[in-house]
Point group: C2
Chain length 233, copies 2
Amino acid sequence: MCDTCGCEHHPQEQEPVTAQRIPVVQKILNANDQAAQENREHLKAHGITAFNFMSSPGAGKTTLLLATIAALRERFRIGVIEGDTASQVDAEIIAATGTPVVQINTGGGCHLDAPMVHSALHALPLDALDVAFIENVGNLICPVSFDLGQDYRVALLSVPEGHDKPYKYPAIFEAVDVVVVTKTDLMPYLDFDLPKFTELVWGLNPAASVLPLSAKTGEGMAAWLAWVEARLG
Amino acid sequence: MCDTCGCEHHPQEQEPVTAQRIPVVQKILNANDQAAQENREHLKAHGITAFNFMSSPGAGKTTLLLATIAALRERFRIGVIEGDTASQVDAEIIAATGTPVVQINTGGGCHLDAPMVHSALHALPLDALDVAFIENVGNLICPVSFDLGQDYRVALLSVPEGHDKPYKYPAIFEAVDVVVVTKTDLMPYLDFDLPKFTELVWGLNPAASVLPLSAKTGEGMAAWLAWVEARLG
């Protein structure tokens, strides 16, 4: 018995401690799934293929988007939805390329949800697009629980984050269609074990492609672009 | 009017799109604050100073903890609470140093909350501790909303994440007592602007210390250890 608060925990009985998600989340997710289905129909009606990019903050989502836009813009009409808790710095970077872009600010919220994306889709010229890239809020945990109506889910994991992340954040690696390992130019300065990382990802999700690349040096970009193009019209 | 779902959004009227947090969060936070206050009394009654480490995945929380334990363990009795969505790899690394440690697995949840920490405190030998280091779940957004009853809040931001993060994730930088810039050994290979980053942090939170360091090379560790020690005993 805890003498401060009167609870009945006993140290010896409960280690390791395991806490569960709050049950109210289920209701939110159901409402989200309905909106996601509407987004999916919307996108399909306009012939748009949509990709949902998810990663930790600073893993290189915007940099990969810029390199992808530069490589594909001559052949595909691209639109972007940028998600951030605050600011529109990323949207401004994308807009500077002449690409239609909408910024969603979640007001502190930790993920994009389908209704937010629905609103953003209305602000894009859907009839003039082939591809929508959705850059989620930087967060390796929450975004994966929210279907946005995308066709494909992309996880980015940067080399400096370490190859052990599938142990600690399995849900995202289980859920995505492709795992892009970014910032491979930093490999010489870090002890990132790519074979071990790939083994961990495939242990969770044997169907996922694992594509290492550096948007800075261009190494690995061809395979990534081929992966994207194979999924477009 | 949206022809797929019948909603009344009009593209021209609502850009940029701004979404708010779901209101149910407020209730959860109130219950959390009560548990945090109990934790605070608990820790105070045992003369323990507690630090809550928060950062993105892979920013170096565990590595900094290991270096801090190695430097302080002769003079202070240290206990650790490890938070992860899954696995106990970090707790095993800490336990190998002979430090009492409890692993909290959140079962997919994106942050530690005060009731989880309460349970973990019961599994630590509180009478035999001077310091508790709490390593939160790797997430730059959600953990900051949940007071754990700690005395000090520590944000880590690793050099590879980029100096623009205070624009996009302001809440954590506003809330903490110190911002540790980790992995400074990677500075030569990246364009991280430390003066700019410091300016952005101080624009949000003029009282925060900003301490750059590399736990790998030891550069900057003395200032960090001095900051911690000044808050002990």
